[in-house]
Amino acid sequence: MNSVLKQISVFTLSILVILLFTNSAFGQNNNKLSDTENGGFLEINTGILALNSRYIDAPENAGVIADLRFSYYWRGFFLENRGHQGIGFPGVGYNFYNEDTWMLDIFITETHPSILWDNEIDIENGVLNEQDGLIGIRPRESDDRIALRATRFIDDTTALRFLIAPISDTNGIAEVSPYLAVWYGKTWQYQNINFHSIYSAQYYNTSTLQYYYGVTDEDVSEKFQPYKAHSGVSLSAEFGMTYPLSADWLFESSVKLTRLPDNIHNSPLVSGRLESQAQISLTYVIF
């Protein structure tokens, strides 16, 4: 329920941001390129995900994933969801600059998922017990932020993306708590198979990591000893392939390895330094 309210509040906030930009001159740019024309795409992805979770006592498990992935543009405003491969719950935003090599968006998204906040989401994603080992600590809500997102298209197969989100309200008030992320992605083709690799670095400040991985007095138990987290950088690498089975169906597979920040890997809530996941799935592209 709380999650639903939170999502509603994110959407309300999004609409406000969208309205704020409706009358701006930036909107005039968007008719020039097809990328942000009205319309979008929608696809259903389902398959099996094997996850070696970052959280303590999470069983190594495999679950069924079923995601509705979409991106929709309307006059520069957009709504998108990458499912479990995305960085968070559906992002909403406004594209205010779109030239040949750069796209700039105001973007609202989840920069860190919730912990023990709403198990239904985990069930939906098929990762049934990932956080069961954390039961006993206070729940942490997801970190939803307004961000500036910049995408630089280096060539037809290579892109860089930056996200800067300086404000967080996870502690109940808006506070400066920088989150910075960069992704470098490249695709290449061999026969009709499209491969991709993505490397990313995400910086979280002390306040954020303490919120999610710290153990405070109210969390302390025999299992969870006091712990104070500090700022750090998470690194990840993903390698995947996509094969078109027909004009509507895709076969996809990927593996992803994430190295957690040095200052949280020995948190009582964390099982180790590395998190890994692998998935195989089928995608039906509706439009």
Binding site: D35, D156, T187, N192, I198
Partner: protein
């Protein structure tokens, strides 16, 4: 004068023989109705991920006619024949190709009579909007 008259007659005779051969050939080609001609591509579709990308496939082409003759197979990707068969009425070939547009295959009977044709269709999963699709596939 007499010599030139003779030359004219020779040319006429050659022309007659050529036109007769041509008619015989046309007649032979006309004898092959569409029911008699088997010309099949497999697969007849090639799908790539993004519009504009090269699509790779190996096409098996089988053909059969009811007249023994010389035949050549052409594709819209090149001017010269992909393969020619001598004095036969059937053939098959495997042809590897990559393309970002439909490819037409034409079977011709020698010298240049179109017997049958078929098209390898190229389609894509993601149409246009390359930039969005690129970032979509990546992030």
């Amino acid at each position: 004068m007499i010599t030139s008259f003779h030359s004219f007659g020779l040319i006429r005779r050659i022309l007659f023989v050529l036109s007769t051969l041509c008619c015989v050939n046309s007649y032979a080609a006309e004898q092959q109705t569409t029911e008699d001609i088997f010309f099949k591509l497999k697969p007849h579709k090639c799908v790539s991920l993004h519009e504009g990308q090269q699509c790779f496939t190996k096409v098996k082409i089988n053909w059969q006619t009811n007249i023994k003759s010389d035949y050549c197979l052409y594709s819209s990707q090149q001017r010269s024949a992909l393969y020619c068969w001598k004095n036969t009425q059937q053939g098959n070939i495997e042809h590897e190709l990559n393309t970002n547009a439909d490819v037409q295959f034409v079977l011709k009977q020698s010298p240049n009579i179109v017997i049958s044709e078929s098209i390898l269709k190229v389609s894509w999963v993601y149409k246009k909007k390359q930039k969005s699709r690129l970032s979509w596939r990546l992030f």
